[in-house]
């Protein structure tokens, strides 16, 4: 009802805009106001860009000093040396950038893929069917949805530590699930899955059922409806949810830092923490900045291109019951 009045209002406004010039929002913006607003918005843009320009500038700094001494956008003699150093070996740990990236990719990609795959099935069930136990199961999902990954860390750490393969004669530990990318991945899926289910369910709820009903009348069964109608329509939502999962996996710190002890399993974020945390020592800032850029840039660009869908999805998922 209210949407009807709104659309009528829009039409009226549009008609008036055509006839009487844009008297719509009334008073034309005076030059003084325009300039004042421009100054304000420019200042805000400056505060937004400042940290980003700072890290770009740092990463280009070629001088063999640990710390910058003045503020410049392009430092004298800018070069990509820091990037080259970082790609060779970011920290004193004997692992190169390619291996770190591969580990991060395996974790982020694997967990995002698995959780979306499992979640879309559950989301379809929750969104379309009324069955006994639905409310209880959904409540279960919502309850763990709000739990951050730190909140299940003690149990997961202890439990996964029990899956150990030892050499029967020497009793040396050959494989410890906790101390492997597999274990970290499991722990991450545990945190990612409820969000993926909820986000996808929120999206599926917004798809009208008419298409599916038409297909059912034509004799399609539940699986056909799911595969031929729901899945194709849900591709954008799956992409966004998958990307959000990927992003959280890519920047995951808590679990991997707690679980992993072998340098060969380290991820990008772990090494980044090694460059700034309590063990940083005197890593040149140019390297740290280059590492930050290399870690953040790819995901940031994808996020930027998907941003419109992400915000819409998050708020829809939040509102829908």
């Amino acid at each position: 009802m209210s949407s009807q009045t709104l659309s009528v209002g829009n039409v009226v406004a549009r008609v008036r805009g055509q006839t009487a010039g844009s008297s719509a929002a009334g008073k034309k913006l005076t030059l003084g106001r325009q300039l004042a607003l421009q100054a304000l918005l420019l200042f805000i843009a400056f505060t937004v860009l400042f940290p980003l320009l700072w890290v770009v500038s740092l990463s280009l700094d070629p001088r063999n000093i640990g710390r910058p001494t003045d503020l410049r956008l392009i430092p004298p003699g800018a070069s990509l040396q820091a990037y080259i150093d970082v790609i060779k070996q970011p920290t004193i740990n004997k692992i190169d950038f390619v291996h770190l990236t591969l580990n991060s990719l395996k974790l982020a990609g694997g967990t995002a893929f698995t959780s979306v795959l499992v979640a879309i099935l559950a989301a379809y069930s929750f969104s379309r069917f009324h069955f006994r136990g639905r409310e209880a199961l959904m409540l279960g999902v919502v309850t763990v949805l709000m739990l951050p990954s730190v909140a299940t860390l003690p149990a997961l750490y202890v439990l996964l530590n029990h899956f150990v393969i030892t050499n029967p004669t020497t009793h040396a530990i050959l494989f410890n699930l906790r101390d492997s990318l597999w274990g970290v991945g499991l722990a991450m899926i545990s945190g990612m899955l409820p969000f993926a289910i909820w986000n996808l369910k929120g999206f599926l709820d917004t798809i009208p059922k008419e298409l599916e009903e038409a297909a059912i009348i034509d004799g399609a069964n539940a699986n056909q409806v799911f595969i031929q109608i729901v899945l194709p329509l849900a591709v954008p939502a799956i992409a966004v949810t998958g990307f959000l999962g990927f992003m959280s996996g890519w920047t995951e710190f808590v679990v991997s830092w707690q679980f992993l002890t072998k340098v060969s399993d380290h991820t990008l974020i772990m090494e980044l923490y090694n460059m700034v945390g309590q063990f940083a020592g005197n890593t040149p800032w140019s390297r740290f900045a280059a590492m930050s850029m290399l870690t953040a840039l790819p995901v940031s660009i994808v996020y930027l291109s998907l941003q419109r869908y992400i915000v819409g999805g998050l708020t829809v998922g939040g509102v829908k019951g």
Binding site: L41, L71, L117, R128, V158, A187, S190, A222, V276
Partner: protein, 338 residues
């Protein structure tokens, strides 16, 4: 239910229609993978964690061949509750209070700035709108953990961008550079006498404001664009001033979009582990510790898995209470008739 001739009954018959179609347990079939996965790696660990919280599970019990931990009953819970743990800087209640204040102060700024900037950007006839919108999104798209490390580096007292920038501004007013050797993240004395908030809290606040308002602006912009313009015209005709229009039209109509966004903001800010751990590290002297950073310390530094489990059970209930409280407040104030 069987009449098809009337268009309105199609909608009414929908549940029955779907029910017939779902015979044979199809919905359960689709739920099996998720149910299995969650049962094994979410709910079982949660149950295990509750059991752990009643034991003195520690480093010594970690090996498979190690003896089972001792049952200590409610000891962990009582020790946390009465602040009786002999761990330096560990204190549940001040941490909880700080976490709540941290959340509240941040979200207020996010929402207020988000709305104001969205309204400014929405001004008709404004130049370069598209450019500003493109720039303002940037804090949202950069991974938080990277933002935190970059800001930690900007707050460096000797070489950081903030102090250098302040010194640069200060020279125009003939202020000695030494004044701006501000120890943002390590100064222990509170900057405002009488208020027990360290400088690092303000440093975190600035960073998180930078991080948080763009999301609110995007949400508010979307809502602003769906407010019909003739409401403002009518208000103009009735002689309402600009600020009256803002309070009587803009704000009430933004509300439905801003409430869920704020709820999301509250929960994320309350749990903003990565920012705090990477920026201030909870310091100085644990003054900016939130519940999650404390929990992580109990596991990562203290290896007190039993205590950590109890602590996490507390976190669960705090979050539950917070969510229920927010729901109640937002529902109680929901009835805005447009």
């Amino acid at each position: 239910m069987a009449t098809i001739s009337l268009p309105s009954t199609a909608a009414a018959s929908r549940p029955g229609f779907w029910q017939r179609f779902t015979k044979g347990g199809t919905p359960y079939f689709y739920l099996i993978p998720a149910a299995l996965v969650m049962a094994i790696i979410t709910f079982y660990p949660l149950g295990f964690q509750v059991w752990m919280s009643f034991t003195d599970y520690g480093l010594a019990n970690l090996r498979i061949t190690a003896p089972a931990p001792n049952w200590v009953g409610l000891q962990n819970y009582i020790q946390i509750f009465t602040n009786n743990l002999t761990i330096e800087g560990f204190n549940f209640w001040p941490t909880l209070a700080f976490d709540l204040w941290w959340t509240f102060s941040n979200v207020i700024f996010h929402v207020a700035l988000g709305i104001l900037i969205a309204v400014a950007l929405n001004t008709e006839g404004l130049w370069f709108k598209g450019i500003y919108r493109a720039i303002y999104i940037l804090p949202m798209v950069v991974p938080q953990i990277i933002v935190a490390t970059v800001w930690a580096n900007m707050y460096d007292p000797d070489y950081g961008a903030i102090n250098q920038g302040l010194t640069w501004i200060g020279q125009w007013f003939h202020i000695a550079p030494a004044v701006f050797n501000i120890r943002w993240l390590t100064q222990i004395d509170p900057p405002i006498p009488g208020i027990p908030l360290t400088l690092s809290y303000f440093a975190l606040l600035f960073c998180n404001i930078w991080l948080g308002w763009p999301f609110m602006t995007i949400v508010a912009t979307g809502a602003l664009q769906s407010i019909p313009k003739d409401l403002y015209e009518a208000a103009d005709i009735d002689g309402a001033s600009g600020s009256q229009q803002f309070w009587r039209i803009t704000l009430p109509l933004l509300r439905p979009a801003m409430v869920p966004a704020s709820v999301l903001g509250i929960i994320t800010t309350f749990n903003l582990f990565s920012l705090i751990y990477f920026l201030s590290g909870g310091g100085p002297l644990h003054a900016t510790e939130i519940l999650l950073t404390e929990a992580f310390r109990l596991v990562n530094e203290q290896h007190l898995y039993g205590v950590a489990a109890a602590f996490c059970v507390y976190i669960f209930f705090v979050l539950l209470a917070l969510t229920l409280l927010i729901n109640r407040i937002t529902r109680a104030t929901e009835s805005y008739d447009v």
